[in-house]
Symmetry: C2
Amino acid sequence: MFVEKGLSLFVAGFLALSIGAAGLEDLSQVKDWENPAPGVWKATLGNMKGELRYTDIAAEKPRLEALKELESVPFPFKEGKVGVLVSSDNRVMIRIPASADERLFGFGLQMDSIKKSRQVLELNVDHWSRGGGRTHAPVPFYISSKGYGVFFNTARFLKVYVQIGNRKDSKNNPPFVDRNPPPNEPQPGAWQAVPFADAVEAQVHGGGLEVVVFSGKSLLDVVSRYNLYCGGGALPPLWGMGFWHRVPAAFTADQTRAEVKEFEERDFPLDVIGLEPGWQTKSYPCTFEWQTKRFPDPEAFTKELLDKGVHLNLWENPYISPASRIYQAMYPLSASHTVWLGIVPDYTIPKARKLLTDQHYEDHIRIGVSGYKIDEVDGYDQWLWPDHATFPSGTSAEAMRQSYGLLLQNMLYTDLFKQRNVRTYGLVRASNGAASGYPFVLYSDSYSHSQYITGVSAASLGGILWCPEVRSAGSGREWLNRTQTVCFSHMAMLNAWSSGKKPWSYSDVTDKVRDVIKLRMQLLPYIYTAFAEYNRKGTPPVRAMILESGFKLNERVIAGQLDSEKNPYAEGKVVETTDQFMFGPSILVAPFYEKQGEQRTVELPEGGNWYDFYSGKLVGNGGKITVTAEGLQERTPLFVKEGAVIPMLTKAVNTTRQAYAHPLEVRVYGTVGGSFELYEDDGQTFDYQQGKYRIRKLTAANGKVVEEVVKDGAPAMFGPVESVKFMTQ
Amino acid sequence: MFVEKGLSLFVAGFLALSIGAAGLEDLSQVKDWENPAPGVWKATLGNMKGELRYTDIAAEKPRLEALKELESVPFPFKEGKVGVLVSSDNRVMIRIPASADERLFGFGLQMDSIKKSRQVLELNVDHWSRGGGRTHAPVPFYISSKGYGVFFNTARFLKVYVQIGNRKDSKNNPPFVDRNPPPNEPQPGAWQAVPFADAVEAQVHGGGLEVVVFSGKSLLDVVSRYNLYCGGGALPPLWGMGFWHRVPAAFTADQTRAEVKEFEERDFPLDVIGLEPGWQTKSYPCTFEWQTKRFPDPEAFTKELLDKGVHLNLWENPYISPASRIYQAMYPLSASHTVWLGIVPDYTIPKARKLLTDQHYEDHIRIGVSGYKIDEVDGYDQWLWPDHATFPSGTSAEAMRQSYGLLLQNMLYTDLFKQRNVRTYGLVRASNGAASGYPFVLYSDSYSHSQYITGVSAASLGGILWCPEVRSAGSGREWLNRTQTVCFSHMAMLNAWSSGKKPWSYSDVTDKVRDVIKLRMQLLPYIYTAFAEYNRKGTPPVRAMILESGFKLNERVIAGQLDSEKNPYAEGKVVETTDQFMFGPSILVAPFYEKQGEQRTVELPEGGNWYDFYSGKLVGNGGKITVTAEGLQERTPLFVKEGAVIPMLTKAVNTTRQAYAHPLEVRVYGTVGGSFELYEDDGQTFDYQQGKYRIRKLTAANGKVVEEVVKDGAPAMFGPVESVKFMTQ
């Protein structure tokens, strides 16, 4: 125990006579921080016995060896400034200082904004529309503009007061202001409904709380260390980077075949077909068994697709129908309550995991299915089990709600795929802390394009993957814009489960839609390396602008342009930029979306030149530029940083299978030269974890690109460099 | 301890190997019910030590003597059907059976609807706009169409699953339905997102939970027994029944004087003037001290108003400014956190109560102030103290949040007024369970007229008073309609704190507005008796139609017209009627409001004739009628039941002071005769609690009204019956 027990909170009876002072002495100081690696400090508050930590169900162990190679950085808080109260009624509260000139970002897949200063958040896994912090993946991790991050590593509902809640004994409270003064009575400022408070305070109902603090040389470094501590980022199979298409819920094998054929005929890339609920004999709850009235020969069907290079992904939710053959065996291993009358297995129990994964192997994996879309693990309360449901392992319903998406990912990733040395890539509807290692991408039914773009930034701050999927559109323009966004995300997917749409459904934009999908395919070497960097170094492959060095918002905050001592309220007026994001190491994506019409503003980071991706022309260094759809010939606005070296396929391919051994084109932007470490492996197994990968360093200097193999653990994945383009002359 | 301890919920570590069956055996049966009075059963679950019960801070003790006079009724649940789980991690869950043909209503001031079947509610005191159960007064009490009620008597946040959450071992679950069947595969019904569940399940984070079950011969009887158990209903002073007007926040004494004068000149009734924040030296947080720049001589000002028969009500919130003279002494008796930087006193501590009430006596009561409006005790989270704040008595922040409005009512009612044998009537922004005895009326800033009317019904199911206050309007018609609603509520008030409006602000309706206010004044003897019945018998003075015998919705449910065994989903389609309500024993009020335009439908209860209030004409017996504004000469639609005897003043008065000794007119409706027990006392002290009241029984039969004094504890309040009108010939 690192923490002295807090004051006992309870006295018997009402109208208590006992009176104590209520100063900071109700808190103990957190003093004993473990420091397992540079920039990582851990404290255990209260009693963690029986508490589930997110890192317990991470994909991989903490990557301490990678963390230990990083630079040492100082602990971000002054000694004794982190306080804790462990109460006798099963509550633990922690207080972490935060100053007025500090912006706090994160808390997972928050689709309204990434800045979370001056908010009260309930970090519960729930339907995203509940708001107030509740969302698909309310990752209890925030980062500060001061260059550190805090992770609450406990599968409990967490209520967090972000710079809200003024302690009476704080020295940093703003001045008192009368809200209704008589005329001519001066006030020290405008009355504020929510005065700035100098801390983040968070509480769980639980016996303990583990807190992990990360520091770094930059915000990106902080996030990367978080990801490494959570086991490193996911490295999907190469086929996962291709184009995904989900067919309508009631589609048959023949209808699906016809759709795949149409992709070929129309020259559209396709790597994955996703089947929605109708493939099962029963859904909501599920049997996980093939509906032979629609799919009479699943094995032949799956093989036929694979022969074309197309992988099969199956939708499911984890609630089991009485019609399932594993229902009876699973019944005693399931919760007291049902979901849509299906039993809710307790997947902390090995026997329950084995029942499901054996069935999944036999019915799906054995015949060649490549992965899953795990639906309905988020909420609402009226859909899922109640907070008081019981599970046979004794795990609380709350911990189960917070972690069910993680548990499903854990079970499928570990027991079904990794143990067979096969990588997977799929979707999941809910996730949480320490998820970075899982090759599962979140999705939502919000369908606001601007929220979907904000999701790209939000996800990158919390070790989660996000798919701003395309479903339908009100116009060809919107369809094109949405497709452009999704092609620069973690998963390029059209989800037609309800709409029945196809990439060519809007004939006025079909060629432009095909172009952007093909551009993604051409960028496969670049994208795959970006994921490898996520895996090995924790660098998010697609990420928020605030993680980019030289981006103006950070600059402004850190330079203290807001005089928070004199007027901390000014803080609330600055809104962060989330409608553009970084894709891989050097490409800035600024999609057109609903409110932008035919033109938009792009904010360029400072500290180096930026170039138009297509022409190589200089567009600026810092500041704002305006781009128009017409000026870009309706292509996605893409900007590349000085010194970028971008490996691509010389031509687009229609499946990732064709990318293997395909010759490369290398594009070089700017005039100062640069390099790119191209990562290659077999693209489908976990052999890379045993060092079986290759790194080709591509160095551009003096009008040439030099290739050097700096790590030779595996054969080359792609072909030789056949073409070099110096885009900026 | 009545309950065996439930299974310990926690096992150490992850991926537990222990496997237990998860049937109903995770619950203990609640067997030991105390039965303190007929129709009242109480069970204590877990350990209530240190838990605050709402009845601990009720205005008065349970009225067991009144309850014991009531008829015996059977316990509503089969033996052993109420289950409980007391978990080792400070949680208590209770399961109460509910069948598919049962509608559940209540849970306090819910402004969207009174029916709460098939919902998950978080019964937290919070800003009403949060929804999902959170509201000003989330009274944890529900009633069933089967004729019983359940009260969760614990000041904890309560999460309640109302007929939601299907246990896997339930015998009453609906049949399984496949959501995506192939063509021609028959299903037992339509797939439902929320299948009906056969219980109410509720959970607190706390060591214990007290549950009180009420039964009765009717829903009204159930609610009345609840109110009696909570100490009986409030009996306000007679002046509280007059017209209230709140002036703008920055008004001075002179502006207020001028406004009072204008009421006189324009012949508008006025009993109370409410001052808003500007009367204090500082507000948000407060000093509770007079702002002499606006009110140079508060004592003279108050006396001047009282001399005109006008009482003064003062707005306040309970958070204390450093500029207050009690700040220093209160500081150590306050919470760790502030609200708007004001300290939050711990009013469970006698010394804190004395500091405030001494100051209030000296500054306000001593000079004649009559009461308070207690604002800002509801929410949001970002306004009030955090859930982890500490209070010097050791009371949890959660219990404080749930009960702060009650505590304020308790302190002011008991320590400031009752101990001086002076009645008060005022407003409070938040309340909760066991509040029926408090003479404080809730209000909101929702301002939807239809929600305000729904609030009238909702309040009556949970022992709370509600003011659908008038503030402003988009038209004269709306202004009139809103005034008509408020004149038939617990408090007839115009709140101009922001709008600056006056009753005559809409010149096209000024006379009609005056008419309805004057009608309320004429009805004072009837209204006052209705409150006395609330006090003595628990009968809500203004109440939901579902409490009225013969009202069709109840009839329909109880008669089982919905075949819930075959199709429980049909249940969700019936919406209860809340846009009309009962005012006193015999008047049905059906206000015009936004969506009703110039005409509306009125549903009449069955079982007796109903008559137009103004003309005495028969309008029907059961069924629906349509009324038009034109047909009613723009008066409020009012309908009176067969046999009603309604005592009124012969003429309207402009202050309640003029009502004393004023002669009476008695109106008789229908043809069968009837009676009314007119209650009278001194109208201002608590002497009535010592039997100092008078009951005059007015019996109408054979074309005459006979007067008989059946209780003679006090002199008459009103004058003799001077006029008798048989309205129905």
